[in-house]
C-alpha cells in the first residue's frame, strides 16, 4: 500500500492492521516517532494526519486516510517550526523522549486555537505524558510559540 509521509510517497507491504507507529518506525525508519505505551495513554507516538494530531499506535495503517506529518516534516534543525524554536528557546527537553509527540500535539492544537488560555493548554496537552516533568516549560513554550505564530 501507499502512504504519504512528509510530502513524499512511500510504498509498504504490510498487514492492514499494523499500527501506523510500527510502519513508520520499523518499515520506513522514522524513529522520531516513539513507542511509549501502545494504548494511547502517553502520546509519545503522536503524529499528524492532515494536520490533526493522532496517536499512531492506535491507527491501523489500513485505516489511514490522509497525509502523515512527523516531526521531521514540521521543521529541521536548520529551519525549525515556531513550535520547535520555542522548545529550543525554553530548553524544554530533559530526556526528550516524549518531546516529538508533545510538539506534534502542540502544533496541531495551536492551529485550532491560536490564542489558548492556560486551562485550554492544560486540556490539550494532558494526554501527553512526560516522565521527567518538563510540564512548566511545555506550557511556557506553547505560549511563546502561540505569540509568534499570531504575529506571523
Amino acid at each position: 500500500m501507499k502512504l504519504m509521509v512528509n510530502g513524499r510517497e512511500h510504498e509498504v507491504d504490510v498487514e492492514d492492521d499494523m499500527p501506523l507507529l510500527w510502519v513508520l518506525r520499523d518499515e520506513l525508519g522514522f524513529t522520531s516517532v516513539k513507542y511509549g505505551c501502545g494504548i494511547a495513554q502517553c502520546g509519545a507516538c503522536t503524529v499528524q494526519v492532515d494536520g490533526i494530531a493522532v496517536r499512531s499506535c492506535q491507527l491501523a495503517v489500513g485505516d489511514l486516510d490522509g497525509d502523515v506529518t512527523t516531526i521531521e516534516g514540521l521543521g529541521t534543525p536548520e529551519a525549525m517550526h515556531a513550535v520547535q524554536q520555542a522548545w529550543v528557546d525554553h530548553q524544554v527537553a530533559q530526556c526528550g523522549y516524549c518531546q516529538s509527540g508533545q510538539m506534534m500535539q502542540a502544533t496541531s492544537f495551536l492551529v485550532l486555537n491560536g490564542t489558548p488560555s492556560d486551562d485550554q493548554i492544560d486540556a490539550a496537552m494532558s494526554g501527553n505524558l512526560c516522565r521527567c516533568g518538563t510540564y512548566p516549560r511545555i506550557r511556557a513554550a506553547i505560549k511563546t510559540a502561540a505569540a509568534k505564530l499570531q504575529g506571523a
Partner: protein
C-alpha cells in the same frame, strides 16, 4: 593485589554501607592510575592528553562517560572540560567513549558510608577515603546517586587544564616563545602578536609531548561557562526529533525481538505452546528461555503480536501472591531480630516518653515502578570473536563483565556502545534487557537483534521501589517538639540490587533510614531505628532511593508533632534546625513563599526539609481544597548544592524532581495479585500529568563547601510537603502513599 581485588568486588555496593574492617589494597593498586582508554585507538598525530580529551588534525572530541539519562550530564561534562580547555561548545563533539576503569566514580564513596554527609570527623573521612579506593580499584564507572557533578567537577576541569597547558607547551616549543607569554581562547593558542595557532594544528606536536599535569584550576571569578546558562548540547536534537536513543539504533541486517518473562518475577517458565505463533507473518524464530519465551521477527509489532498468541505456563511467585501478604511481612518486621541498625539516639527516648502524653502514628509507602518513557531495549550482536551491545546503561563496565561471564568469553571481547536514554530514574541500573537480548542473540549468531519490551512487560518486570512502613512515637512540651522516635521497616532495595550485581554487602543498609536518621534537627530526645524486611518482590534504586520513603515518614510525623504542640510548621523547624546549610534552605523557601502571609480560604501550605545525597532541600507546597478535590497550586523549592553548574538545567531538573515526587506520591503504586503486578501500563500509575502540575519556583544555594548533584534530592521533600499542605487545608492527615487512596485530586 589479588586479595584487594577479591575483597573489593565482594564488598562493593552503591548507596549502601560497606564495613571494610581494615582492608588494605596496597599503595601501588590505589596510587596507580588506570590506563588511558583513548591511547589504544589514537593515531600517530592524535593528542590524547588524558581519558577525556582527544584532539586530532580534524577536530576536538570530549569524552563524557557519565550516561545521559535526560539529566543533561553530557552537556555538563563537556562544559567543565571546555571551561579550562578554552574551547566553545560549538567547537567540540562529544562521545560517551568506551567503558573503562579510568572513568571510575570518585564521588560515590561519600554516600556509601554510614555517616551523615555533614560529618567531617576522622572516622567518616577515613571510611570515605577507603571507599574511594574501592571505587578506583574496581574501576567503578557508575552514573547514579546524584554523583555526576561531584565526580566531574574538579576532575574534568583538570582534564581540560592539562590539555590546554600541554597545547601551550607545544606552541612554545614550535615558536620559541615562553609558555607564560601565550594565551588561549576559542580552541587556539594565541601568540603575543595575536597570531592564532589552532589546537587542531598543534595536535600532532602536542601528541609527542609529556602532558603538563601540574596545573592549578582557575579561580571562579575567571569562569566563562560555569554558573551561566548554556544551551544544552542535546537541546536542538531533542527539539527536532533527531536525537537517537537506544531504542532507535539501527544496525545493518538487524532483526526485531520481544519477550514475555514470568510475570511472577524471578520464577521460571514451566512450558509453552507456540503453535499459533509459528506460522505468523514475519516470525523468524521462537526462543525458549528458562524464564520465558522470546519471538524474533522482521518487525517489532509482529514480534509483539506473535507473543500474544503463545500459551505459557508460569511457575508460582517466590514472594507472597497477594499484596496483603507483602504488608503483613513489613508489619511483622519491627522486631529485635529484624533490627538492621539503631542509626541515631540523641538523649534518652524511652525515659522521655515514660509518662509523657505520647503521640503515635503509622505510615506506609508502597512499591512504585520506575517506568521511564523509553521502554527497555537493547541491540546485541553475538559474533564469533566479539559481542556488540547498543543500549543505555548506568553501569557500563558491569554490563561488559556480566555479558562476558554469561557467554564464557573475555570482557575485552564485549563492546558496549552506550546510548542516550529516554529516562531512567534507576531503571537502567538493572540488566534484564541486556541479559535477555544476549540470550536471544546467541541463538541467531552474527545477526544484530533489537529486543524491545512491550510496556506491559516493562511494568511486569520492573524492580520497584522498596515497600515500607514506619511507626512514630513522640511528645511535645511548652509548644515545642521534645521527643521523636521513629522506627522504619522496609525491604532493602540495596541488598536486592547488589545480590543481582553479584556483590552482596555486609553491614547495615544506609538507605532504609536515609533522609530520616540524618535529619538536621536538634530534638532533645531523638531516635531512628531501621528494620530490614526480608526480601519480598525484588526491588531496586528508585530516584532518591531510601529517602523517598524515610523522608516522607520523618517529615510527616514531625509535622504531626509540631501541630500537636500548637507551633507553626516553619517556625518550629527553624527553631530545631542545627545546621547552617539546612537553615539556609528553610529560610529561602520561607522567604520565597512569604510563609505566614495571608492565605485565601480553602488554601493550605506544608513544608518539608530532607537531606539526601548531601543536599539539604526544603520545599513549600500550597494547595487548595476545591469541591472537585485537592489542587496543587504552587511549590517553592531550595537546595544547597555548593555550586550551580548550569542554571537552566538546574532549574529544569529540580522542578522535574519535585514533579516526580509529587506525582508518584499522589497517583502511583504497584500492588500484587496472583503473584503479578496489577498495574501494567500508564493508565494505572502515570505519575503526574500536565493539568496537575503546579507553578514551581526553584532556588539553588551555593553556600556549601562541597559541590553536589541534584538529580535526586528534590524528590524526598515533595511527598511530605504535599501531605502537610493537605493537612493544613483540610485537617486530613495522609499517612499512606499513594494519596489518591485518601483524597481526590483535581
Amino acid at each position: 593485589m589479588g586479595r584487594g581485588k577479591t575483597i573489593a568486588r565482594r564488598s562493593f555496593l552503591i548507596g549502601s554501607a560497606v564495613v571494610l574492617g581494615g582492608v588494605a589494597f596496597g599503595t601501588y593498586l590505589v596510587k596507580s592510575d588506570p590506563e588511558n582508554p583513548l591511547a589504544q585507538n589514537a593515531g600517530a598525530g592524535d593528542a590524547v592528553f588524558n581519558p577525556w580529551v582527544k584532539i586530532t588534525g580534524s577536530g576536538i572530541t570530549l569524552v563524557t562517560p557519565h550516561t545521559d539519562l535526560g539529566q543533561g550530564v553530557t552537556a555538563m561534562q563537556a562544559m567543565l572540560i571546555a571551561e579550562e580547555l578554552d574551547v566553545e561548545l560549538d567547537q567540540i563533539s562529544t562521545t560517551p567513549g568506551q567503558p573503562a576503569a579510568a572513568y571510575y566514580n570518585t564521588a560515590l564513596a561519600a554516600e556509601a558510608v554510614p555517616f551523615r554527609s555533614n560529618d567531617d570527623g576522622f572516622a567518616a573521612s577515613a571510611m570515605r577515603e577507603t571507599m574511594g579506593a574501592v571505587m578506583k580499584v574496581l574501576g567503578a564507572q557508575v552514573t547514579g546517586g546524584s554523583t555526576s557533578v561531584p565526580d566531574s567537577f574538579d576532575k574534568l576541569r583538570h582534564a581540560g587544564a592539562v590539555a590546554r597547558e600541554t597545547l601551550k607547551a607545544a606552541a612554545s616549543a614550535e615558536t620559541g616563545i615562553d609558555a607564560g607569554q601565550l594565551k588561549t581562547e576559542r580552541g587556539a593558542v594565541v601568540l603575543p602578536d595575536g597570531t592564532r595557532m589552532d589546537y587542531t594544528t598543534l595536535a600532532a606536536a602536542a601528541a609527542r609531548m609529556e602532558p603538563v599535569t601540574d596545573v592549578p584550576l582557575r579561580d571562579p571569578s575567571q569562569w566563562r561557562l560555569i554558573g551561566k546558562s548554556q544551551q544544552r548540547l542535546d537541546t536542538l536534537a531533542k527539539s527536532t526529533g533527531t536525537q537517537v536513543y537506544g531504542i532507535d539504533v539501527k544496525v545493518d541486517g538487524m532483526v526485531h525481538a520481544s519477550v514475555r518473562s514470568n510475570p511472577r518475577k524471578g520464577a521460571p517458565m514451566l512450558g509453552f505452546d507456540a503453535t499459533a505463533a509459528e506460522g505468523m507473518r514475519g516470525v523468524q524464530k521462537i526462543v525458549a528461555l528458562p524464564y520465558g519465551v522470546a519471538v524474533v521477527a522482521d518487525n517489532t509489532w509482529r514480534a509483539f503480536r506473535a507473543l500474544e498468541e503463545i500459551e505459557i505456563d508460569w511457575d508460582v511467585a517466590p514472594y507472597p501472591a497477594e499484596q496483603s501478604g507483602h504488608w503483613a511481612a513489613v508489619a511483622a518486621s519491627f522486631t529485635s531480630e529484624r533490627l538492621d541498625k539503631e542509626w541515631r539516639h540523641d538523649g534518652d527516648v524511652d525515659a522521655a516518653l515514660d509518662g509523657a502524653d505520647v503521640l503515635t502514628a503509622e505510615y506506609r509507602a508502597p512499591y512504585v515502578a520506575h517506568q521511564p518513557l523509553e521502554p527497555l531495549s537493547a541491540v546485541v550482536r553475538v559474533g564469533s570473536d566479539r559481542v556488540d551491545i547498543w543500549a543505555a546503561h548506568q553501569l557500563p563496565r558491569f554490563v561488559q563483565q556480566r555479558v562476558a561471564k554469561r557467554l564464557g568469553i573475555e570482557t575485552a571481547q564485549i563492546h558496549l556502545h552506550n546510548q542516550f536514554a529516554g529516562g531512567s530514574f534507576g531503571h537502567r541500573l538493572e540488566f534484564d534487557n541486556i541479559d535477555i537480548a544476549v540470550d536471544v542473540a546467541r541463538e541467531v549468531p552474527d545477526t544484530p537483534v533489537k529486543l524491545t519490551f512491550r510496556r506491559e512487560e516493562d511494568f511486569a518486570q520492573d524492580y520497584n521501589r522498596q515497600i515500607g512502613m514506619a511507626r512514630g512515637r513522640g511528645a511535645h512540651a511548652g509548644g515545642k517538639v521534645t521527643v521523636l522516635d521513629l522506627d522504619i521497616a522496609t525491604v532493602s532495595a540495596s541488598r536486592s540490587q547488589s545480590k543481582r550485581l553479584g556483590a552482596p554487602v555486609p553491614g547495615p543498609d544506609t538507605q532504609i533510614p536515609a533522609g530520616a536518621w540524618n535529619m538536621r534537627y536538634a530534638i532533645p530526645d531523638l531516635r531512628v531505628r531501621a528494620y530490614a524486611v526480608p526480601e519480598l518482590a525484588p526491588t531496586s534504586s528508585w530516584r532518591s532511593v531510601g529517602a523517598s520513603t524515610a523522608g516522607f515518614f520523618a517529615e510527616s510525623f514531625l509535622d504531626e508533632l509540631i501541630h500537636a504542640a500548637g507551633a507553626d510548621p516553619m517556625e518550629e523547624r527553624l527553631r530545631l534546625v542545627d545546621d547552617d546549610d539546612a537553615r539556609g534552605v528553610l529560610e529561602a523557601v520561607a522567604e520565597m513563599s512569604d510563609w505566614g502571609g495571608p492565605l485565601e480560604a480553602g488554601k493550605g501550605r506544608g513544608v518539608a526539609l530532607v537531606t539526601s545525597f548531601g543536599v539539604p532541600t526544603a520545599e513549600v507546597v500550597e494547595v487548595t481544597a476545591t469541591d472537585a478535590g485537592i489542587r496543587i497550586d504552587r511549590v517553592w523549592v531550595a537546595a544547597e548544592v555548593g555550586r550551580v553548574v548550569d542554571p537552566v538545567t538546574f532549574e529544569n531538573v529540580v522542578a522535574g524532581g519535585v514533579i516526580w515526587g509529587l506525582g508518584h506520591a499522589m497517583n502511583s503504586e504497584i500492588t500484587y495479585s496472583d503473584g503479578r503486578a496489577v498495574q501494567d501500563n500508564f493508565h494505572m500509575g502515570e505519575g503526574m500529568r500536565l493539568h496537575q502540575c503546579p507553578v514551581i519556583k526553584v532556588r539553588g544555594l551555593e553556600n556549601g563547601v562541597t559541590v553536589r548533584g541534584v538529580g535526586e534530592p528534590p524528590v524526598p521533600p515533595a511527598a511530605p510537603a504535599l501531605a502537610n499542605a493537605i493537612f493544613a487545608a483540610t485537617g486530613t492527615r495522609l499517612r499512606e502513599m499513594p494519596f489518591f487512596r485518601t483524597v481526590d485530586f483535581v
